[in-house]
Symmetry: C2
Subunit: 153 residues, 2 copies
Amino acid sequence: MPKIDLSQVPVRTGSSYPAKYSDRMAGRSGQGVGDAGGLTQFGANLVRLAPGALSSLRHWHEKQDEFLIVTEGALTLIDDTGETPLVPGDCCAFPANDGNGHHIVNRSDRDGVFLVVGTRTETETGWYSDIDMKVEVAGGKMRFTRKDGSDVG
Amino acid sequence: MPKIDLSQVPVRTGSSYPAKYSDRMAGRSGQGVGDAGGLTQFGANLVRLAPGALSSLRHWHEKQDEFLIVTEGALTLIDDTGETPLVPGDCCAFPANDGNGHHIVNRSDRDGVFLVVGTRTETETGWYSDIDMKVEVAGGKMRFTRKDGSDVG
């Protein structure tokens, strides 16, 4: 059955970031709807942001294209150009290696939801725009370091 | 600017199917929002279906994962398992080579809209479930034939 039964898709909360940054992800939850439907070539995730929550720390990808569409609520895109309000139906595209760190924040007083799609690649490096951190992904594992490769601490 | 200005994205109508099938696509329009945002690794298209319109002839892909989320209206998924109603927020996944021909139809009395995402590959073959046709894609061109490779006529 191609339709995804959202009530059966696990809702992930918490953070994969190092401890010093992990509390910044409070209020974010996600459902891996692409994985639930058996897809492997790209990830498709429904992300819910409570008031005040962030989608991620502001970042960009070296290899992977990323795309999102807002489906509920009023959200704000923050990137190198500033802040852009988003409402349902609004779409954003983040080409691989564009160097434009981005994230979505919820400054409204009710939940906001978006679908985000990102290519899957064997390896990937992501760079965080506002802090001294990068992530290297290989073998399905994430390794966070400072930008010079030293321990995040 | 990552946010896509939908008013600036061309609205494509018509059909790329052979003449004998092309009139079946009346009432469908699409916007290539991923291309508009500079993405190359997957396609992301906003598709609008007027009452009575079809997303495509019912088909499945050999190589490309496909995913959709409904954003407006009331639509119907038709696949090998039957018919499934879809409302905004509903998601469907179609893994590559699953052999389950699918399309979306609008049986309501107002427009419906969905976002569909599909991997980009150098070559692809798609198979149509209800008619004697396949499509081979290479070099950005589509070649429609009967399933035995002969002319569609």
